[in-house]
């Protein structure tokens, strides 16, 4: 039992759930809850992105493009064409997954900086299309999005809901939804990582050639994880659109892609809980730095640089390493 609690699956998931359950009671107003929801949305996207970047070692500088596609397809299908939001979300995820599958083959043959260049280009092309086809997307002025609804039951952040005799605001219901999804997403990610598929992905990162000679079809796995991470992004793009009720092409933009990859690297590549920490920090940092006013940009750049220089492995792995170091010493002494 103790052993099980130490594993990232059971132990990590229960810790995460604890934090997520306690958190709303420590938040004093709707703004803080809103920020928590945004952290959650970003966290789920980067948990997916981390499978691609952290575990399989394939850089994507265009993931916001997939998120934007999901958001806009959901918004347009449910708003302009009257689809049910859930159906629109699923359809968008299938389309984004399909695109990632088609483009993944040729793109993922590229390595290192060429891959980042190609994914960057892909993201920018998607953003340009969204920005330009304003008859459909509303262009840079943005698009109003219908609230999420299921079987005629609409979930708007602005309404009151009664669940099991408890009265909840729409934002609180959204929090519960996103928090549950986060736990679910982490569970899925851990399942993938700790499976033959996950080992194959990590082997692609560790030594692609070694994986190939033992029969791992690395191209296939790279495409697979590219599709999975794109679908994560698409679904969260859709949900984020329904939650905020308004989207602009920024969601698909280059800067957003950079923000996502920064969350992964800052929090700790190949660490599922690390990238969640990355999402927490990158969403909260602008809020904290907002008080610095004209120094905000300077401080943000500096924090980013200093963290990455001194913790190149990312925050969480570095912290855990520090905590583990004394312990390791004792074990080696025991062994000796």
């Amino acid at each position: 039992m103790m052993q099980a609690l130490k594993s990232p699956r059971l132990g990590g998931l229960s810790a995460l759930s604890c934090v997520l359950i306690i958190l709303p009671f420590t938040l004093s107003n709707s703004f803080q809850l809103d920020v928590a929801i945004q952290v959650g949305i970003a966290a789920i996207v980067v948990v997916g992105l981390n499978l691609l970047v952290g575990f399989a070692g394939q850089i994507s500088l265009g993931h916001a493009g997939f998120m934007g596609m999901g958001a806009y397809m959901s918004a347009i299908l449910s708003g302009t064409y009257g689809w049910s939001p859930l159906l629109a979300l699923i359809f968008a995820a299938i389309c984004v997954g399909g695109l990632a599958f088609l483009i993944g083959g040729p793109i993922l043959r590229l390595k290192g900086h060429y891959l980042s260049m190609a994914t960057l280009g892909l993201g920018i092309i998607i953003a340009i299309v969204i920005n330009t086809e304003s008859w459909l997307t509303g262009g840079p002025d943005g698009l109003v999005v219908e609230p999420l609804s299921l079987f005629g039951w609409a979930l708007s952040p602005f309404d009151e809901y009664h669940l099991l005799g408890i009265s909840l605001s729409g934002t609180q219901v959204w929090y519960i939804l996103i928090a549950s999804l986060l736990v679910f997403a982490v569970w899925l990610a851990l399942n993938i990582i700790d499976s033959p598929t996950g080992r194959a992905l990590r082997a692609v990162h560790g030594s692609e050639i070694a994986a190939q000679v033992v029969g791992v079809n690395t191209a296939h796995y790279k495409v697979k994880v590219f599709v999975i991470s794109a679908v994560f992004a698409s679904v969260m793009g859709s949900l984020s659109a329904h939650y905020t009720g308004f989207i602009t092409p920024n969601i698909a933009g280059f800067h957003h892609s950079i923000e996502l990859i920064t969350m992964v690297v800052l929090g700790g590549m190949a660490s599922t809980y690390g990238v969640i920490l990355g999402a927490v920090i990158l969403v909260l940092l602008p809020q904290v730095l907002a008080d610095l006013q004209e120094f905000e940009m300077l401080a943000f750049g500096l924090i980013l640089m200093v963290t990455m220089i001194f913790m190149p492995k990312g925050l969480l792995p570095t912290l855990l390493n520090l905590l583990n170091k004394p312990k390791q010493k004792t074990t080696s002494e025991e062994a000796a």
């Binding site: 609690l5 130490k6 594993s7 990232p8 132990g11 990590g12 229960s14 810790a15 995460l16 604890c18 934090v19 306690i22 958190l23 420590t26 938040l27 004093s28 107003n29 709707s30 703004f31 803080q32 809103d34 920020v35 945004q38 920005n131 330009t132 304003s134 262009g139 840079p140 002025d141 943005g142 109003v144 602005f158 905020t244 009720g245 308004f246 989207i247 602009t248 920024n250 969601i251 809980y273 920490l277 927490v280 920090i281 909260l284 602008p286 809020q287 904290v288 907002a290 006013q293 905000e296 940009m297 969480l316 912290l319 855990l320 905590l323």
Partner: protein, 384 residues
């Protein structure tokens, strides 16, 4: 072991941020919230807006504040991102508990805020152009600039008066240009003007000769209209001169600042555009009711910041002054009363124009508030 470590790390982070995000509530001050695009692609708008707000709040406080209270400006920079704007509006409402919100340098950031202020029932004055902001009328949402449609109308009217019916259009692909593009097409159709060439340029583009060459070689073009802001229109103007295009060039109110003439230099000579009287403050007739307001704002801003005024800063000035006026007439900070007072604003003389608001019109300006200006000998001249 690991469990506790994760929990510890996460809780610590959250606790740390929770502390810093809890606002310090000052007692007995009137809080005006603002969110502008002070950096990013729309900083051309947001920067002078923020400067204006800061300048005048200081002055208001020096003169004793509003309703006997000091005014506190709580402001955030959304960097032109609608997502960030939405979060900051949430913060202004939920955490900072402001009495009133001024903001939204762009249509995108404004529209992201609209559902929140409507829900929270906070009076909100936007500084962005698009019609959708106040049409249909939203109970708590007001705006100070004329619409892009009015700018397009003003320009096309002048073209028509000069007998031009076939024109070339070039516009930026940012929010401002796209919206202007859309409305120019609509107004042109209504007025029977044909757009024979239609080109665009990106907000960071550095050369528009290709687009202009295409317009130049389109047969029948009688004039060119550029809808955009930032450095783009100045580059268009310089390229226009370089290509020696011998047709009248019109710009939108997006470049209504001395900065434009400074950037475009001699190439700006003869360019026409619709703008508030701000740019011709000195030469306005003494009878013009706006003259004192306009000259005072220009003098104060330029003295404080040592940079030329722009129409955009004036939107913030008008928004702030309309807010103060409404607060004083409402006699309290009660949000519903302030909103009603705002809606009843009549004959309020601002820098942008004379505002007459109503339940059907939350902007309160008409096309005539735009003056048509022409660049002549390196300065603005009223075209009458």
């Amino acid at each position: 072991m690991k469990t506790t470590k994760y929990t510890l790390a996460l809780t610590l982070t959250l606790a740390a941020t929770g502390v810093s995000l809890t606002p310090v509530q000052a007692a007995e001050t009137l809080r005006i919230g603002a969110f502008v695009s002070a950096t990013g692609p729309a900083s051309f708008l947001g920067d002078p807006e923020l400067k204006t707000l800061e300048l005048y709040i200081k002055e208001i406080n020096a003169q004793g504040g509003v309703l006997g209270q000091q005014v506190e400006l709580v402001h955030y920079d959304d960097g032109g991102s609608a997502g960030k704007a939405r979060t900051y509006v949430n913060r202004l409402i939920g955490a900072d508990k402001v009495d009133m919100i001024i903001g939204g340098s762009t249509t995108g950031t404004t529209m992201a805020a609209v559902p929140l202020v409507e829900q929270a029932q906070v009076p909100f004055i936007s500084m962005a152009g698009a019609i959708v902001i106040t049409d249909p009328v939203k109970k708590w949402v007001f705006k100070t600039p004329q619409t892009d449609r009015m700018a397009a109308t003003k320009v096309l009217q002048d073209m028509k008066a000069r007998g031009m019916t076939k024109i070339g259009l070039i516009s930026g692909t940012g929010g401002f240009g796209r919206s202007g593009h859309k409305h120019t097409l609509e107004v042109a159709k209504e007025m029977g003007i044909e757009i024979v060439a239609d080109e665009t340029y990106g907000p960071q583009d550095t050369d528009m000769t290709a687009q202009l060459t295409k317009i130049k070689s389109t047969p029948g073009v009688q004039a060119v209209f550029n809808f955009g802001f930032g450095q783009g229109p100045a580059i268009v103007t310089k390229n226009y001169a370089q290509l020696a295009i011998d047709l009248p060039l019109y710009q939108s109110h997006g470049v209504a600042s001395d900065k434009y003439i400074e950037l475009a230099g001699d190439a700006a000579e003869g360019v026409r555009l619709p703008a508030s009287p701000l740019l011709v403050a000195d030469t306005l007739p003494e009878t013009d009711p706006q003259k004192p307001v306009v000259t005072a704002y220009k003098a104060k801003f330029e003295a404080a910041y040592n940079m030329p005024v722009s129409t955009f800063g004036a939107y913030a000035y008008d928004a702030l002054m309309l807010a103060v006026d409404a607060l004083e007439r409402a006699g309290s900070t009660d949000k519903a009363k302030v909103r009603d007072a705002l809606e009843q604003t009549q004959n309020y003389v601002g820098v942008t124009g004379v505002y007459n608001l109503s339940a059907q019109d939350h902007m309160g300006l008409d096309v005539s508030s735009f003056r048509l200006l022409e660049v002549s000998q390196g300065t603005w001249k009223l075209v009458e």
